[in-house]
């Protein structure tokens, strides 16, 4: 018990620096020293095995790190490139939509979705009002080949069967070739810009443009005669054909000209003419004729 008391005393005294708690008792000190003794050979017998395990693990870790680094490098290249391409594509589409250069249907979609952002409607969105009479929609541009074919069809030159088929297809039928060629001739003879202008107002204000060719009353007064229904069939043909061309097709021109008037003539006065025709039929001729006759 004396030993124990000495031990407890030592422990109380050395609580802060208690690395050698067992100092007090020789037997206990011996025990602790034995427990702390240097390694025996049997304790270290497993050294080679463990060091080999260490080396193997290091090799495996190095391989894994290399394998992990490779896809990371590929990803580091691929991600920015893909993002850049996507950004380019989006920007291009946005610019095309903003300037109205998308394909017609896509532009229509873009306009419906982003009209608030200033995306315009398709420029050639309503081609039908201008050529409501003829089914051949997409042939308003002056086409030299079409003009040549029309000349050939009229008999100026031999018309090959291929050209004939092309002409029929372009006109939308054999019976419509006369009307079609009339249009081709007009667009070819007049300055090249005459075709687009009527398109612009018709696209910008579709509602006024549609009724004008459809309802005959606003269109027919334009020749200048006050009576709306009577004259168009007899008198108008000479007048528009006069400034444009001297010789038009005899029977067909009667039916062909009204649409052509609607396209070419109002085109120049559309800003003025579109508003008046609606309120009164009588007011329209007075305004149209002064500007219509000098031309």
């Amino acid at each position: 018990m004396r030993h124990l008391r000495a031990l407890l005393h030592a422990m109380r005294k050395r609580r802060s620096t208690d690395t050698d708690l067992a100092v007090g008792d020789p037997g206990l000190r011996r025990l602790i020293e034995a427990a702390r003794a240097p390694a025996t050979a049997s304790e270290l017998s497993g050294e080679k095995q463990m060091v080999d395990a260490f080396t193997a693990e290091r090799k495996r870790a190095a391989r894994a790190a290399r394998r992990r680094r490779r896809p990371a490098r590929i990803r580091a290249v691929l991600v920015p490139v893909t993002a850049g391409l996507a950004l380019l594509l989006l920007t291009g589409t946005a610019v095309a939509a903003r300037t109205g250069n998308l394909p017609q249907e896509a532009q229509q979609h873009a306009h419906r979705l982003f009209s608030a952002l200033g995306v315009p409607a398709p420029r050639t969105g309503t081609p039908s009002p201008r050529e409501s009479g003829s089914p051949s929609g997409p042939a308003p541009t002056p086409d030299l080949a079409a003009f040549t074919r029309c000349e050939a069809w009229r008999g100026a030159a031999p018309l090959s069967s291929h050209d004939r088929r092309t002409l029929i297809a372009a006109a939308g039928g054999e019976h419509a070739i006369g009307r079609y060629c009339e249009k081709v001739r007009q667009s070819a003879s007049s300055p090249a810009k005459t075709a687009p202008p009527p398109a612009a107002p018709s696209a910008g204000t579709p509602s006024p443009a549609v009724p004008s060719p459809g309802v005959p009353s606003p269109g027919t007064p334009s020749p200048g005669t006050p009576s709306p229904a009577g004259p168009p069939s007899s008198e108008p043909p000479p007048k528009p054909s006069g400034p444009a061309h001297s010789g038009t097709q005899p029977p067909k021109s009667g039916r062909a000209t009204p649409p052509s008037i609607a396209t070419t003539k109002p085109a120049k006065q559309q800003p003025k003419a579109t508003i008046p025709p609606r309120p009164s039929v009588a007011a329209a001729p007075t305004r149209v004729t002064p500007s219509g006759r000098p031309s």
């Binding site: 030993h3 124990l4 031990l7 407890l8 422990m11 609580r15 208690d18 690395t19 708690l21 067992a22 008792d25 020789p26 037997g27 206990l28 011996r30 025990l31 602790i32 020293e33 034995a34 427990a35 702390r36 003794a37 240097p38 390694a39 025996t40 304790e43 270290l44 497993g46 050294e47 463990m50 060091v51 395990a53 260490f54 080396t55 693990e57 290091r58 870790a61």
Partner: protein, 182 residues
Amino acid sequence: MPDDPLAEALRAARDGDRRGFATLWRGLHPGVLRYLRVIAGDHAEDAASETWLQVIRDLDRFDGDLAAFRGWLFRIARNRGLDTVRRRPTPPLPAAASASDAATLTLENDGTAWAVALIAELPIDQAEAVMLRVVIGLDVATTADILGKRPGAVRIAAMRGLRRLATHPDVRDRTQPSRQGV
């Protein structure tokens, strides 16, 4: 001072140096094995192998000095030791048998095995506190951290363990002849 070569060895081992790791292992493995003898008995060798394999696997994630490494090492050792015992529980040896073992060890003059066997006879919390605090030489905070106890509880457990060991007949028997010798 004796820790200096071990601190150097730890740095080398973390850089992947084989000889550095060997030095580290030689310096610390005996303590791990003796501690595991106390808490895992016959499974100490297996538990020690698992401990070192885990150290090898996670060494590049370890970041600290030698003192921190010792704390980390013995925390792993404790977990592996308790796992091993849980997996393959061995019936606790009868006190008489262990005492005779200790006596045999004394006769064989394997002082270390005898001392560890005596410590292992203590209640487990006292045995662990004595091993980690007194034999291995970890500080109170690290020991408390490993054992999941408050530092005060660790101090008391170590003290009680030592007191009990001092009264052990084998310790006192061994004391007598040495005194006579001196």
